[in-house]
Amino acid sequence: MDLTMSIVIIGGLGVLFGGLLAYAAKRFAVEEDPRVEVVTDLLPGANCGACGLAGCSSAAEKIVAGEIPVDSCIPGGKKVADSICEVLGIESVASGGRKVAEIHCLGTKDVAPDKFDYQGVRDCKAAMMYSGGFKACAYGCLGLGTCVEACPFEALSMGANGLPQVDTEKCTGCGVCAKACPRNVIHIELADRKAKYIPCNSKASGKVVRQACEVGCIGCRACVKACPNEAVTVENNLAVINREKCTDCGKCVEACKRGIIKDVGTVLVLK
């Protein structure tokens, strides 16, 4: 008796709900793209905002709808972009190599003095509101760590020298830090490039730089002349190295009297 009734009741309830659900599923069907959910799962879920949207799920929606490119998620990189392509059944786009943040300032406290004592909120943007920042160099890093705070991946830390350090392992190249920095000290670059680079951001004239910083680029063009590959140019008083042309020969490093030309990597991992 128990046995049959149990079977009948639970089985019956099963049928009832199976049937009801089946009916309801037809009757109340709502169009929804199931791929959105799948794509959301694929995204890293850090909700970092590097894609410029509110979070990963809205990015997924827009990606599926084709409103933004499949490789919009910078932290996810090529891997995620490829798997999204797979889901959406479109051909993989060749998104460039992995990118990382690079700090373009070597003006530590010892070599680039402050012009006045700033008191108040310890935040670079806040400090910028008072006479354009306390550092004598109007382009250098203020060292209050707004970028460190902004990084959604804990890839930045404030070094003992008062400049932010990038942990290239953790950095996803999302660029959130670069956007947060009020002095545009952080550039996003290819991770595995072979080239020298110039960790200075000063577009001031050589005279001004000399007063404000012991190491900053003064735009003297010694490196331009030294480079056999025409990889170095000076724009706005600041030398820039073209990574495509640079062969990493090191001639410019010898030429620079201020010693500001560095190997990619040496400064990046400085701890």
Binding site: D2, S6, I9, I10, L13, F17, L20, L21, A24, F28
Partner: protein
């Protein structure tokens, strides 16, 4: 008077979260903002009451007559899961506005132990249908109350410099503990 006592006990002195430990998962998960915790609370009140009524009827007319009380767990949960899914589908189609307000919480609710817990408590303590309805609504209100208080606390803690290790679930639990201490003050006021 008896019904009032049920309400008092269910909301305050035997609060479902703070002294009965049911529904802790959403309590930790959905109390980040006040408005979402209100939404979740409303959804719980609705589903809880509906589920309690249906399971009460089921128990009285199907399980008890055949002496099949041992099937309560399985029968109830089946009914609840089915119901929630049905409601979700129907809401989505017929009332998209309400669905947007409550719908996102519905899937969470199936696996929320308050619903099954209250359904079981109702039949175990021999409530009649009126008591069942009152008890379920009051319990839902108690749940919402606890949720909203915690959401207020957590919104404030958002603006606070505290250890990252304790942020989130850990501090929520400690706060729940102190709140639960405070709610203990209501015990002994009304006995059922």
């Amino acid at each position: 008077m008896h019904l009032l006592a049920i309400i008092f006990v269910a909301i305050l002195s035997n609060n479902i979260v703070l002294s009965q430990f049911l529904g802790i998962c959403p309590y930790l998960g959905v109390t980040k903002r006040i408005d979402t915790s209100v939404g979740m609370g409303m959804a719980v009140i609705f589903v809880m009451t509906m589920a309690a009524i249906v399971t009460w009827v089921l128990d009285l007319f199907l399980l008890q007559p055949f002496g099949l009380e041992f099937l309560r767990t399985i029968a109830f949960i089946l009914v609840i899961a089915g119901l929630v899914q049905l409601v979700e589908m129907i809401l989505k189609k017929t009332n998209p506005a309400l669905f947007r307000a409550l719908g996102i919480y519905l899937p969470l609710i199936t696996t929320n132990c308050t619903i099954l817990g209250v359904a079981l408590l109702n039949v175990q303590s021999g409530h009649n249908i009126i008591e069942t309805v009152v008890y379920s609504i009051a319990t839902g209100i108690g749940f919402t109350l606890a949720m909203v208080i915690m959401a207020g606390i957590r919104e404030r803690l958002e603006l606070v410099n505290m250890s990252n290790y304790l942020k989130g679930a850990a501090v929520t639990l400690v706060s729940a503990g102190i709140l639960s201490l405070a709610f203990m003050g209501f015990k002994g006021m009304v006995t059922l």
